[in-house]
């Protein structure tokens, strides 16, 4: 790793590209990663998101060089990294437990990598001061690690890695041990620092909110494979499969079965009723008569209307009863009973809008192009949600 003398944020724009091609990793019989390919753009904030055991941490450790892939190539800035140890790669890493050196002070922790590189003391001091300042720890350099709060330790770990100006920073669930308030603060801080330094951040988390909040690109992983990679809102609006749809955001999932298919429409028999959907709704699932599928509706696409409301041509209307109502600030969450299913609908709270009370009967309506139909989950992926529930 070379150290530039420029202030943070300049001169590194083009560096930090990671190419992952066909990477497979096995531990004994178990294939932890199977044929994973991914391009990580320089200067981007990318999150590897998935339930525990999905392979996200393994992928991070492969990029870091702690383990080597059984198959495939990882290249950084066009250079094949195969066989290179972590210290030979242009990376920094923040560990889940932070791994700060308990016998060193805050400043000594940050200076560690610079000392290893045998920079002269004046230069080291200047850099340490600059990066302690960057992470808001100015003046705390002489403290012991044991004297710091959780959030401060977090920032020491960050400064210790960033002071070496790596073109890539790997972060392994570094916020998971913190309470919610602090976590939110640091999420914003982390994003700001990433932007100002223009460093590639690869962040591992199992928290979808954290992922969507910070990332330019979210990579959803499950069972050792990449399920989908894209911008957070893209993934939310256009999930590739049921796993991704369920993992990102809230979802009403309704078991269904195709009972009739014509050239323009397919008829679904669902737990909430029977209706026709245009073929365009079947982008991710080929409608074949007799096949089981899942009808997915985001809570916000369900419009709740009085029963007297007129029918719509390109919308499906269903009869439902309000079970419960939660108004949380500007958002109202309605729990509905429809057929044999419980559904959740979300609307904005307006003084003027019609707000049904528990026990009311109403019509719920969704536009046919808002319905998403997927193949049901395989057993291996269903397990992930079993853990989360």
């Amino acid at each position: 790793m070379t150290l530039s003398t420029s202030p943070p944020g300049r001169d590194v724009a083009a560096l930090g590209r990671i190419d992952i091609a066909g990477v497979t990793k096995r531990y004994g019989q178990a294939e932890v990663l199977s044929n994973v390919s991914l391009v990580i753009e320089p200067g981007s904030f990318l999150t590897l998101l998935g339930p525990s055991g999905c392979g996200k941490t393994t992928l991070l450790r492969l990029i870091a060089g702690f383990t080597q892939p059984d198959d495939g190539i990882i290249a950084i800035d066009g250079r094949d990294m195969t066989g290179l140890a972590p210290q030979q790669r242009p990376i920094g890493m923040v560990f889940q437990n932070l791994a700060l050196f308990p016998h060193l002070s805050v400043a000594e922790n940050v200076a560690y990598g610079l000392k290893i590189r045998r920079l002269d003391q004046g230069d080291i001091d200047a850099r340490v001061e600059r990066f302690l300042d960057l992470v808001d720890l100015a003046g705390l350099g002489t403290r012991r690690i044991s004297q710091l709060s959780g959030g401060q330790r977090q920032r020491v770990a960050l400064a210790r890695s960033l002071v070496l100006e790596p073109s890539i920073l790997l972060l392994d669930e570094p916020l998971s041990a913190l309470d919610l308030q602090l976590r939110k603060q640091l999420q914003v801080g982390l994003k700001d620092i990433q932007r100002s330094l223009n460093t590639t951040f690869v962040f591992v988390t199992h928290d979808q909110e954290e992922a969507t909040l910070m990332s330019d690109t979210v990579v959803v992983m499950s069972a050792g494979k990449i399920q989908q990679a894209g911008a957070p809102h893209d993934i939310y609006l256009h999930p590739e499969n049921l796993f991704v749809a369920k993992f990102i955001g809230d979802l009403n999932e309704i078991p269904a079965k195709v009972v009739a298919v014509s050239s323009a429409t397919a008829t679904l028999e669902t737990a909430v009723g029977r209706f026709d959907l245009p073929q365009s709704a079947f982008r991710r699932f080929a409608a074949v008569e007799g096949k089981a599928c899942s009808l997915c509706l985001r809570p916000e696409v369900l419009e709740v209307r009085p029963t007297s409301a007129p029918q719509h041509l390109d919308a499906v209307s269903l009869r439902a009863r309000i079970v419960d109502r939660f108004a949380v600030g500007g958002v109202t969450r309605l729990i509905l009973s429809c057929g044999e299913r419980r559904l959740t609908a979300v609307t904005m709270t307006h003084a003027s809008s019609w707000l049904p009370a528990p026990g009311d009967v109403c019509t719920i309506r969704f536009r046919v192009d808002h319905a998403q139909i997927f193949e049901p989950l395989g057993a291996d992926m269903a397990k992930a949600f079993g853990e989360r529930a």
Binding site: F95, A99, F101, P102, Y112, G113, I116, R160, S161
Partner: protein
């Protein structure tokens, strides 16, 4: 009735063993002091003055301190690589630990006699050296300070291994990985992370072994002979051969003082060396 009131009789029962222990412990110390300062019913500091006066007694104290320090340092130096090996071998750690501790299953006296067989003038080592033609006369390996140091080191190395291993196992597992990512080689990681973090264990070992040594009796008697006394073996002789309890008590009190002084000194050095840790 509150539970606290009902708990009182049983609490007294629990205090009883502690009281017995304290009475016996401090009682014996008081007894020791009374022996040391009273001879034939009169206050006397005769034996303390004697210790302060006689150069041959100074040699005994000096030998005890220097040999104990040597044993402590040698034990820690020998134990450190063993502890490192045990720390590194995840799967075999417990088995290897048993191997390290096996000598403790044999009584101290028997083990020391084992060393006599090895180190004696007609012992295994000397016979072997003579057979090789390397020596004409037997090398003096025992009935001197060397013999005592060898015997004590053998007994105390496992203490050091356990103490150092304990502090190595306390090192968070990915500190080494963190050091690696920050650019350090394996050797630099050892030097800057593992070594400093294992020092508290090494220092504890040093202290425990030193204190165990200055009170040693059996090993100095068997391997040091009559000519190379430790404070402990000197006390033993006063009690068992000359039946001079007052003199033995005076020696014991001096040994106690020496232990305290050493402990304070070692603790000060430790604080200077390791600084304030969490």
């Amino acid at each position: 009735m509150s539970t606290e009131e009902r708990a009182t009789p049983s609490a007294l029962l629990l205090i009883l063993p502690v009281l017995i222990l304290l009475v016996l412990f401090f009682g014996s110390v008081v007894h020791l002091f009374s022996y040391g300062f009273y001879e034939d019913g009169e206050f006397s500091t005769r034996y303390f003055l004697q210790i302060a006066d006689r150069p041959d007694y100074h040699v005994v104290f000096l030998r005890t301190v220097l040999s104990s320090l040597t044993v402590a340092v040698v034990s820690v130096v020998l134990a450190y690589p063993i502890a490192l090996l045990l720390w590194r071998s995840d799967r075999w750690r417990n088995t290897l630990l048993i191997v390290v501790l096996v000598p403790w299953l044999v009584s101290l006296v028997v083990r020391t006699y084992g060393w006599i067989v090895l180190l004696g003038p007609r012992g295994v080592i000397n016979e072997f050296l003579a057979w090789l033609g390397l020596v004409d006369a037997p090398v003096k390996l025992m009935f001197n300070d060397l013999g005592i140091i060898i015997g004590l080191t053998h007994v105390l190395v496992p203490f050091a291994v356990i103490s150092i291993l304990a502090s190595l196992l306390e090192i968070e597992s990915n500190l080494e990985e963190a050091s690696g990512v920050l650019g350090a080689t394996a050797f630099q990681t050892f030097l800057h992370v593992v070594w400093p973090l294992s020092l508290p264990g090494a220092f504890t070992a040093l202290m425990v072994i030193y204190l165990a040594c200055i009170g040693a009796i059996v090993t100095p008697i068997l391997l040091g002979g009559m000519t190379h006394n430790f404070v402990g073996s000197q006390i033993y002789q006063e009690v068992m051969y000359t039946f001079n309890m007052s003199k033995a008590a005076a020696w014991s009190i001096c040994l106690l003082g020496l232990s305290f002084l050493s402990l304070i000194l070692l603790k000060t050095i430790e604080r200077r060396l390791l600084g304030k840790r969490s």
